[in-house]
Symmetry: C2
Subunit: 578 residues, 2 copies
């Protein structure tokens, strides 16, 4: 590509509404341009990157045996009513009526559409397994679109859907996709991590998220540096911090803690470690509608320095639909306001569940169910009954790894992929069956596998940038190499060498752009550093006199001189490294 | 591709709602699958064809200097309000509200979006000309979607937009696109014709349609077999059938024609050629609203066997917004009901315009403005004043070509492309300007260029099919070659040769599918004839014993035997022919 035949449009300053670095840099580099809230034009420079991402995804999906098709953007509401998602999905599902008043949605995902295809196309077990995917425009009406492509409303997603005859088949299809995703992210040249994710109602370990590692990521990823263990915060199992409970050593004592409603304040007042305190969280589960029963009240106990994991709370038997208790409910059951609550001597009976760590504590401090008082020296068995125990908390760095093979660490990530075992969630609602060997209809076992194509761009930048701009991995860079001729219009030698090298690189299958715009070197270099092309070749009269060209890798601090005759081989070697 | 790794799904019968051959065959061949009214899944077999069409379009657009980008499917209503199309476009414009109640449209085309990009990106004449295109999902809420991809609601279009500093530049950009379109349709391997189209309000000759020729096409294309002249019916100029008017030979006579209200019936009654009769068409132009003036009445005169061209009527000065007159208006101005109207002796004055052919007629027959009576022997100048003259009629086959170089012929076509000189239609409304050499803002001159990507599939089939199925041109076939091994599971020799030839064709860059499904020969052949793969190779034990393979081109009536060692070269030669 010649720059004069392309469209390059860089900005010195990012627009004021760009809050994060990837959004700022993509706007400044002329890769995206806002059309509306959360809706972007992909400018020529940005589209090249998207296409490279798509092609890597496509090649690896095909290699894994998935078959590409294309499902519509506008889909009939009836399908979404069949699965109940028409009602369940909130306003993020964009709904539209046609001229006849019929309801449609603009697809945020395609489980319904593919299941509709499959339920008529798949008749026999002989046709299984199958895996269909498409790379298509999606729309989610985010309440507050922001961060450019990271939380836009219109975006491009690759979504694949596997169908199998049984759970074992589904798990195998899932593994094939997991492996394909691993290859895809490796080929992107990004640092990434696959983490086990919570599987919601499906249960089992059938869900993993793929995250691009970045300090700015919104998700906390839990992993064990000395083993394979990795999960997202929701799913990461927290073991007790001590494996057995010490014997009680001190007496239960009601202690005045006036105005100290938080564990931190109590610990400070009493001059004790925060790790000896227990905090009380009160949740409620409403009785069935019109059952005449009041809400059930639950008291969850966590060590003072730990945080409740709300997903884990929802997994306690009977608590699937919990909510936080109201102040009135708390006062009714505990006889006092929040801040001084505890498991000993509640006004009315409540269901008590202790986190694993709390269950192994002795001589702990907790609220006394009386304003401005806490108990110290509380002990299970002696002062109150042994509790029900569950994993209730978020893990923290330094916790033991659940696989027993080390100590957990935490890093930040940006979710860009998700693989999921759906089981019969959709095939059941939509009556998607096949005939087994005995001619008996069986529900199809389904998996789904998404990659946020346009989100990859944002995530890659959050991971790879410096004060000059973006640093693309070679595999998804808009161009692999840029040739910057100095004074192409003045020097015949420069022009000849630039053209010759340009043609040689093209012939070698390298994606090169020749900057023939005639910009001054400073402006030219600044543009390509901002855009983030990973390999730069400068051609100047001075170097040519010595038979040399200048090479600078985007992460290099110093340029190196390469003999003219060796530059092609030099660049080809860089391409192999990529 | 191996058939067992792909998804092949053929039907013996097309669904009942498929009315035309391309719709039936695409459904039967498993290329598309209906999701909703006018909304189709592109199944794997269909998507391959779409991608080939897209790639040819993309390569030629790039070669012509157009730059690819991608504009959003969902676009803010504000932009469409700026150009007035929010109001002007009827219910075919799909409108949608987001969660905040803001209006959006699902794009049917992108003039507004690209002009919004351009008005901020293009600042100086130095950046001109530019031409951006995208290949994107479009939506038009057709009142009655039908004919599969030919008149669907969701479809894929390539739309390009050029911007120039002046009209000459725009015309040059237009020519570049016209030439690119010609190359594109040549590469598709389809018989096509570019015809001049009516340019609406813009005027000039700045619009051409590209049609795929097919007997089933909805449009009539006018062309001169011995010259370059070609236009669609709306735009084709009709010359007078005789170049000068003969002298009057008979007297004006009021003749009883009881109950004969049509020219055909009058000619039969009087035993005269239909070509000697003149028919009267009464149109009305409403006075400006609230002007207090009645509608203006126009009488258009056409030879009895000719048809009114409504577009041409609208080009008569003062008639841009005409409508057909009501019966009350006719009675008021002519003193009689339709059927016996004519230019002689109207009750009130009317504006008379004669078609060019009528203006050169003598001794003609026309209504006498009295029920059941016609005039015979009517003559201009003698019996009524010389009329205003205009081209008012549709051409017919046999008419002289407007370029004077032959006789016009008519054929049917399917519109699949349109190039258009827009001028300042959008740049004016949206204030899209650039600074000229003098630093003065000037409106951008715009052109737009569309190709209906998915419609190409339907059009190609309407042109190329037989009773067995589709006949794809090689360049857009889902696969170029199919290898059909006979008894691959039984014969090691067949299997070995099939694998070897399959690998050799892949290595030669040929898009081949190996049918390894193990179907019986009859079912296998029927599938590939239905799908329309242009080149078929059959491998069987009998042939192999003689060192031969069987080749059949999709249009061939008889197979030919090709020595095993020569098959690769044989197929490569076929690829060059394509």
């Amino acid at each position: 590509m010649r720059a004069t035949r392309f469209f390059i449009s860089t900005l010195k300053e990012a627009p004021a509404d760009a809050e994060i670095v990837s959004h700022k840099l993509m706007m400044r580099a002329g890769m995206i341009k806002r059309l509306g809230s959360g809706i972007y034009n992909y400018m020529p420079m940005g589209l090249r990157i998207i296409r490279k991402v798509e092609n890597i995804v496509r090649e690896e999906m095909n290699r894994a045996g998935a078959i590409e098709m294309l499902m519509p953007v506008v889909q009939p509401a009836e399908l979404w009513q069949e699965t109940g998602r028409w009602d369940k999905m909130g306003p993020e599902l964009m709904r539209v009526k046609d001229r006849h008043g019929r309801d449609y949605i603009i697809q945020p995902t395609s489980e319904e559409a593919i299941t509709d295809v499959i339920r008529t196309e798949i008749r026999s077990y002989r046709q299984l397994p199958v895996n269909f995917y498409h790379i298509q425009t999606k729309f989610r009406d985010e309440r507050r679109p922001r961060f450019g492509l990271m939380r836009g409303r219109e975006f491009t997603m690759k979504d694949a859907y596997s169908f199998d005859r049984n759970v074992e088949g589904m798990q195998k299809s899932y593994e094939v996709m997991y492996d394909a995703y691993t290859r895809i992210f490796q080929r992107f040249g990004l640092e990434f991590r696959a983490v086990a994710a919570d599987n919601g109602a499906i249960g089992g370990s059938g869900s993993h998220e793929f995250h691009v590692i970045a300090d700015t990521g919104e998700d906390a990823l839990v992993y064990c540096p000395t083993s394979d263990y990795a999960a997202n915060m929701e799913a990461a199992e927290a073991l007790p911090t001590q494996t057995s409970r010490p014997a009680a050593a001190t007496a239960l004592t009601k202690t005045a803690t006036p105005g100290k409603a938080k564990c931190e304040d109590v610990a400070q007042l009493l001059n004790i470690p925060l790790e000896t305190t227990v905090k009380s969280i009160v949740l409620a589960v409403d009785a069935e509608k019109d059952s005449g029963k009041a809400a059930q009240i639950w008291l969850l106990l966590l060590r003072g320095d730990h945080e409740l994991n709300e997903v884990k709370a929802g997994k306690i038997a009977g608590m699937a639909n919990y909510r936080f208790a109201t102040e009135a409910e708390i006062v009714e059951h505990f006889g006092t306001k929040p801040g001084y609550l505890g498991p000993i001597g509640t006004q009315k009976p409540v269901n008590i569940v202790a986190d694993r760590t709390v269950a192994n504590m002795a001589d702990f401090v907790c609220g006394a169910n009386e304003a401005d008082f806490h108990f110290t020296g509380a002990n299970w068995g002696r002062d109150l009954p042994e509790p029900a125990v569950a994993d209730l908390r978020n893990v923290v760095a330094g916790d033991p790894s659940p696989d027993g093979k080390g100590i957990l660490a935490i890093q930040r990530g940006i979710e860009v992929g998700h693989v999921f075992q759906l089981g019969t969630r959709y095939s059941d609602d939509m009556k998607a069956t096949f005939l087994d060997e005995n001619g008996k209809p069986q529900l199809l076992q389904m998996g789904c596998y998404g990659i946020g194509v346009t989100r990859i761009l944002g995530a890659a930048i959050e991971q790879n940038f410096d004060d000059k701009g973006i640093i693309w991995p070679t595999s998804i860079a808009p161009f692999e190499v840029v040739i910057c001729p100095m004074g192409m219009d003045r020097s015949e030698a420069v022009k000849t060498e630039a053209e010759s090298l340009y043609q040689a690189l093209i012939a070698a299958g390298i994606d090169v752009i020749l900057d023939d715009r005639g910009e001054r070197p400073g402006a030219m270099f600044a543009d390509w550093e901002l855009i983030g092309v990973p390999h730069r070749i400068v051609i100047g009269d001075r170097g040519l006199k010595e038979g040399k060209l200048e090479y600078l890798g985007r992460r290099d601090t110093e340029a190196s001189n390469v003999p003219v005759a060796e530059m092609l081989a030099f660049i080809q070697a860089k391409m192999v490294e990529k």
